[in-house]
């Protein structure tokens, strides 16, 4: 990676300012963690498309933009401003404004014993040992400069802890709101979710914006699922199309733990969604499910790295993409089966629907198998909206826009069907429905007067 064309000195300046203003009673290990991460970031700079993991996603615009640390000012965001982002039937809602936890905007009432929900900063003060035992232990800052940059500025974000045997039926909603700034700003939410043995939780991370403007949201979530824990995680990106959104979900799974990751990329201009589970105990199960919907000039990159480290673990990846306008989607699905991970069962499927001639998808499976008794399959399809289906619906009286919406919803419903039927899914379903409504109305679909029958539907490419 070359830093010759990148101006990253200001990150050092921002960092110096950030460290100087950090709380005096912060533990020493935290400062050392940040400094090491910053050093790593300054060493590598931002990735370029020469880097295999970033081949399809050019972040030079991020590298060129002088993002500054957002500071620690009070948010000034009111309850009323958040009204439309609340969800029904959640166990609790934690609100973060520009990456910082705002207790006054959060709703934490009625949580049972064994559950701690809070801001990370708060818990660094209250239980530093627990935080130290996990923070930065899973995400690899040497693999990817963005988590390195996040770690350098790691201070606040969500802290979720479920003690052994704690079951939360309703979802925990983590709402990340970015506000307007006059100059380009960066936010580095750092989330730590620790779900101990035999516990069960659903956590929604949702990213929204109160105003446009150049914002780099570079979040990292470390999710630890203890033995036999069941965790469902949602990543919902709804920022405006001028936002830069990088998120890294690093999942550490214990023996027989089951984790599901559901990603919903509906907004953002340049989005990179990293999901990296390590099935580090025998018999772990992981479902990675996602839907990305892009139009305009959105760039939505999904980078999956699934590591099977112990025997008898299984993983399923299903990603569906819908791309219109000049949108560019990426699905990079890497599966690594380590030497000890016999009887691994890994499957990966990526289906894409391109609604315009200019929309583009790059899909790349990558299997690295070091064990000899495993089952790994992958497949990818790219297609257009099926004109036969569209005509069928219209021939029954359903107008073109409604028919398009039905077909888009049908395509998206495959993802919804993989989510457990609860408040989180209801929320996801509603967001998808609204989003597809606007896409179905999109004028960019100009094929009403097709000159020849479009018989081509799903074309196998993988």
């Amino acid at each position: 990676m070359s830093t010759a064309t990148q101006n990253i000195d200001h990150y050092l300046r921002s960092f110096t300012e950030f460290q100087q203003q950090a709380a005096e009673d912060e533990p020493g290990w935290l400062g050392r963690l940040r400094e090491a991460a910053l050093a790593r970031f300054l060493e590598t700079g931002f990735p370029t498309t020469r880097d295999e993991d970033w081949r399809f996603t050019n972040v030079s615009v991020i590298a060129r933009t002088p993002f500054a640390w957002a500071g620690r000012k009070a948010s000034g965001v009111s309850q009323a401003a958040l009204g439309s982002w609340r969800i029904q039937n959640s166990a609790a809602q934690l609100v973060f404004v520009d990456g910082r936890w705002v207790p006054g905007l959060s709703a934490l009432a009625g949580l049972g014993k064994g559950v701690t929900l809070s801001g990370l900063k708060d818990q660094i003060g209250k239980q530093p040992e627990l935080v130290e035992a996990h923070l930065g232990r899973y995400v690899d800052i040497r693999r990817d400069p963005f988590p390195a940059l996040n770690t350098a500025f790691a201070e606040d974000g969500a802290f979720v802890h479920l003690r052994r045997g704690t079951v939360l039926a309703e979802p925990i909603h983590l709402l990340f709101v970015s506000t307007a700034g006059e100059t380009p700003r960066m936010i580095h939410p750092r989330n730590l979710l620790v779900v101990e043995e035999e516990s069960q939780a659903t956590v929604l991370e949702e990213y929204v914006s109160l105003a446009g403007g150049a914002v780099l949201s570079n979040g990292v979530t470390e999710l630890v699922a203890g033995e036999s824990a069941h965790v469902v995680h949602y990543m919902i990106v709804r920022e405006p199309q001028d936002a830069f959104h990088i998120s890294t979900l690093r999942i550490e799974q214990g023996r027989s733990a089951a984790v599901a990751s559901h990603s919903l990329l509906l907004g953002g201009g340049l989005v990179r969604n990293n999901v990296h589970p390590v099935l580090g105990g025998e018999g772990g199960e992981c479902l990675i499910n996602g839907l990305f919907v892009g139009d305009g000039h959105q760039h939505l990159d999904n980078y999956m790295l699934v590591e099977h480290a112990r025997p008898h673990s299984s993983s399923r990846q299903f990603y569906n993409g819908i791309l219109d306008g000049h949108a560019h989607g990426v699905f990079h699905g890497r599966i690594v089966v380590h030497k000890d991970a016999q009887k691994t069962d890994a499957k990966q499927t990526n289906r894409n629907l391109l609604l315009s001639d200019e929309a583009q998808i790059d899909t790349k499976p990558q299997l690295e198998i070091y064990a000899d008794d495993v089952k790994c399959t992958h497949g990818a399809t790219i297609g257009q909206m099926d004109e036969n289906s569209l005509f069928y619906l219209r021939s029954r009286g359903i107008d073109r826009v409604a028919a398009r919406r039905l077909l888009l919803s049908a395509f998206a419903s495959e993802c919804l069907a993989r989510m457990p039927a609860d408040a989180a899914r209801a929320h996801a379903g509603q967001l998808i429905h609204q989003h597809l409504l606007s896409l179905a109305n999109s004028p960019s679909q100009g094929s009403a007067e097709l000159s020849q029958p479009a018989e081509r539907t799903w074309e196998e490419v993988g």
């Binding site: 029954r396 009286g397 039905l406 919803s409 495959e414 007067e449």
Partner: protein
């Protein structure tokens, strides 16, 4: 006024002339059968009437209930009362059968200025028709035609027709691929819908279906033209002698365009 009036209809697909001057008048209450060999243009006629946009009309007109059918979009034709039972119904995973059918019914009701029907009102109507077509109600909660057998798909077409109650029902080779039991069920469903207000256009290659759905008039389509029209006996004659002799006649009649 006749329900459907087709005058001198010429249609091309991808530059190839398929229909070369069709004239056909269908009155309400009548059942007409369009027969013909493969490639004669039967299905093209059915698709053009249901307003498939991939077909280009180069000449002629089609008047349906006094309106220019060729100016209509597929959904408008459907709302005006045209229904085609597809030869190959599509499978659409992710859209439930019952949900779809209610959406279609409501689209048509809305077009006609009628109130939309909620799920509770819809259910009894739906159940009645499901029973008429001897279908498994469980299928109806599944995705549209997904995993249906050929016979189930065809029955589902007639079920849709029974719910949507069109003015003009076009059956495009509905008999193909059906065993005799399924054929009887489908015919029962179709016959139940014969009425003085409704006309039917039964497109078929074989006479077999016409034993069960007896038409008033049979037209024989060869190379894009109706070469002969007659009563139900004409179908029997075709069954006996095949299409060969009629194709030969048609070639003699119009050598230049063959």
């Amino acid at each position: 006024m006749s329900l459907l009036e087709i005058k001198n209809l010429h249609v091309t697909v991808g530059g190839h002339a398929i229909l070369k001057g069709i004239d056909l008048t269908v009155n309400a209450g009548e059942v007409h059968s369009i027969m013909g060999p493969n490639g004669s243009g039967k299905s093209t006629l059915a698709q053009v009437l249901s307003r498939r946009e991939t077909y280009q009309v180069t000449a002629g007109e089609v008047v349906f209930q006094g309106k220019d059918l060729l100016a209509m979009k597929p959904e408008e034709a459907a709302c005006e009362g045209v229904f085609m039972a597809f030869q190959y119904p599509v499978e659409i995973p992710g859209i439930g059968n019952a949900y779809f059918l209610r959406a279609a019914l409501n689209a048509i009701r809305k077009y006609r200025g009628e109130d939309e029907m909620d799920a509770i009102d819809f259910l009894p109507l739906f159940r009645e028709k499901v029973k008429l077509l001897d279908m498994d109600e469980k299928l109806m909660n599944r995705s549209l035609n997904e995993g249906f057998s050929g016979g189930e798909k065809k029955r589902n077409e007639i079920l849709q027709m029974a719910v949507l109650q069109p003015k003009l029902a076009i059956l495009d080779e509905t008999d193909s691929g059906l065993d005799i039991d399924a054929l009887r069920v489908v015919a029962k469903g179709v016959n139940a819908m014969r009425s003085p207000e409704r006309a039917m256009l039964v497109v078929t290659h074989y006479q077999r279906l016409l034993n069960h759905i007896v038409p008033d008039t049979v037209h024989v389509l060869v190379d894009g033209r109706i070469v002969r029209s007659g009563g139900p006996d004409l179908a029997l004659e075709l069954e006996e002698k095949g299409y060969g002799w009629m194709e030969a006649e048609a070639r003699q009649a119009a050598p230049a365009s063959a």
